[in-house]
């Protein structure tokens, strides 16, 4: 098993991070070590354990459909690196 350099490139691309060839081999080694460690879980006998979607024994946590005051626009934009006309300003996305 184990990851290939191609897998590392793929994950880097999905995360939108640029990596050097040295970083690629470093991360390949590190990621494989992490996966190998986690593979220990596969050795646990879970034949009697029902699958679970959540670790908390809670269900149906929901609220009534009642509006409440959120942030003001000034608060919402307070930490924006760039803003214009009451909006967050971001680099243009090219399609």
């Amino acid at each position: 098993m184990g990851l290939s350099e191609k897998d590392v490139d793929h994950v880097a691309r999905l995360a939108r991070i640029e990596i050097t060839p040295e970083e690629r081999s470093l991360y390949l080694r590190q990621l494989n070590a992490v996966l190998e460690h986690a593979a220990g879980l596969a050795r646990v006998d879970v034949s009697g354990t029902p699958p679970t979607a959540h670790i908390l024994p809670l269900r149906n946590v929901w609220r009534a459909d009642e509006p409440a005051q959120g942030l003001t626009r000034e608060q919402a934009l307070a930490n924006a690196p760039d803003k214009s006309k009451g909006c967050f300003r971001v680099p243009r996305i090219l399609e």
């Binding site: 793929h10 691309r13 999905l14 939108r16 979607a53 959540h54 908390l56 809670l58 269900r59 149906n60 946590v61 929901w62 609220r63 009534a64 459909d65 009642e66 509006p67 409440a68 959120g70 942030l71 003001t72 626009r73 919402a76 934009l77 760039d82 214009s84 006309k85 009451g86 909006c87 967050f88 300003r89 971001v90 680099p91 243009r92 996305i93 090219l94 399609e95």
Partner: protein, 485 residues
């Protein structure tokens, strides 16, 4: 190009914004058209540490849609994170439902207009799942300030609740698609699930389109986005099918891709390659616990369902003996159907009520730009007028005059008839008088009639009606003329 040698296969993915008061996972108002970034909070802005809490009403509405589309409501369902990077998605993941959606397989029936008439078809629904909407990118001129290329982002829409309704690849062309969408929209609006306003983006549709020769396996499907009206969905299906057929006929191969519909150029065009775009790395949303919707809960939702258009149509036909066409027109909105039933309850004969509502009432509402709820004639008043007509107090022609008077605020029909002296003349002496006068005025017609050309009778009836200013009872006029001739 032999498009006719191929069969078009279409599956639709419809996103409908739920008309809840608040967003899916926070209490910000869910309202269209507010100033940018004024309906936001730490949850829908994706600020660190903020935790989502599910809006129960969103689940109720999703379940309503599911029940109306004959889908089982999942006893156990959960939310998942779908990760991708785009500036309109502030958290860099969308909370959606992946492998355990709220509703399973169902179906929708729709009347499809074909070249050989209207055909009722059943289309499979694959699933319905809940998810949150993303914010909106504004690409207006302001984005170009100072030569720096940028976009503006408004997160008011981020976190608005959506349901995505996925159809089976059961549609065979633009007619099917338009009929499916119209039927779906009607149901969602009747249920109060969504206002389905395509201009405001509360109903959006993507189409998976492929072509194949009948009898061979389905072709490779292409996803087409960016269609902003039912008509455009139909046009995009035809255009994309033609593109695929031309490609295949010239020896090419259709590749799985996403294309955008360009309404101005009436063609689909390739979007950026998305070879990895389907790697959304879904995993169960740790911030939300699963939903368990037991039978009692589902029954509660079912009891709250209004009568759906289809059931209402069948009932109007069965209970009131209305033709299918009338039932169709009267159920176009719940308000109109309610109006009709109120008129009938007030004592009017159903077919007469239907005729007047579809004809005079709808025409008057259209002319005045009013909705059914603001109709200037109350159901009881229309019923009272129809009773005057039925009992022969007024004629059909006079009834129209009375109705117009009611529309312009004339009040009670009996009072209008009284005030304007419109009571129908049924006195045989008076009618005979009008008949003799008409015959004396047109001796040639009388002679022809007596010579066997009976077509002149209608003309004489018309003359009598004129002399009586429309107030003579037409049946009695007929009788009188025949007798005197």
């Amino acid at each position: 190009m032999p498009l006719t040698d191929y069969e078009i296969v279409v599956g639709l993915e419809v996103h409908a914004e739920l008309s809840t008061r608040t967003k899916m996972f926070c209490s910000c108002p869910n309202r269209f058209g507010a100033e940018p970034n004024t309906q936001v909070c730490p949850v829908c802005l994706g600020l660190p540490g903020a935790l989502p809490v599910l809006n129960r009403e969103a689940v109720v509405r999703a379940a309503r849609a599911g029940l109306a589309l004959h889908c089982p409501i999942a006893a156990f369902n959960k939310f998942d994170r779908k990760q991708y990077f785009y500036p309109d998605l502030d958290k860099a993941y969308q909370i959606s439902q992946f492998d355990l959606p709220v509703c399973g397989k169902g179906h929708l029936e729709a009347d499809v207009e074909t070249s050989t008439g209207t055909v009722r078809r059943r289309f499979g629904i694959t699933r319905i799942h809940m998810e949150e909407d993303a914010g909106k990118l504004l690409h207006s001129g302001a984005a170009q300030i100072g030569g720096s290329e940028s976009s503006l982002v408004d997160y008011n829409r981020a976190g608005v609740p959506l349901i995505e309704i996925v159809s089976e690849p059961d549609l065979r062309g633009p007619e099917d698609a338009e009929a499916y969408l119209a039927a779906l929209k009607e149901i969602l609006r009747y249920l109060g699930v969504s206002d389905c306003n395509m201009e405001e983006g509360s109903l959006r549709c993507d189409a998976n389109i492929s072509v194949h020769r009948p009898g061979t396996p389905f072709g490779t499907r292409v996803e087409v986005k960016n269609m902003n009206s039912f008509k455009n969905v139909g046009k995009a299906i035809v255009s994309e099918a033609q593109r695929q057929v031309a490609l295949i006929e010239s020896g090419g191969v259709v590749t799985m891709e996403t294309r955008a519909w360009d309404a101005e150029r009436s063609e689909t065009r390739a979007m950026r390659g998305k070879e990895e775009a389907h790697d959304y790395r879904y995993f169960p949303e740790p911030d939300l616990v699963p939903l368990e919707l037991d039978e009692a809960w589902v029954e509660g939702v079912r009891r709250g369902l209004p009568e759906l258009p289809e059931a209402k149509r069948r009932r109007l036909e069965a209970e009131h003996g209305l033709p299918a066409y009338d039932a169709q027109v009267l159920t176009e909105s719940a308000e109109l159907a309610d109006y009709f039933e109120a008129v009938v309850r007030a004592g009017a004969q159903p077919k007469a009520a239907s005729n007047w509502i579809m004809g005079e009432l709808l025409a008057a509402l259209k002319r005045l730009g009013l909705g059914v709820a603001e109709a200037p004639v109350a159901p009881g008043a229309l019923a009272a007028m129809l009773k005057l007509l039925d009992s022969g107090v007024i004629s059909g022609k006079i009834a129209k005059t009375v109705f117009e008077e009611m529309v312009s605020g004339g009040g009670d029909p009996a009072a209008i008839v009284e005030r304007m002296g419109l009571t129908q003349v049924t006195d045989s002496g008076a009618i005979d008088g009008f008949a003799r006068a008409a015959m004396e005025a047109h001796p040639a017609v009388v002679a022809e009639y007596r010579g066997g050309k009976t077509a002149g009778l209608g003309f004489l009836v018309g003359q009598v009606m004129k002399l009586s200013k429309g107030k003579a009872n037409p049946a009695l006029v007929n009788e009188a003329l025949k007798r005197l001739l």
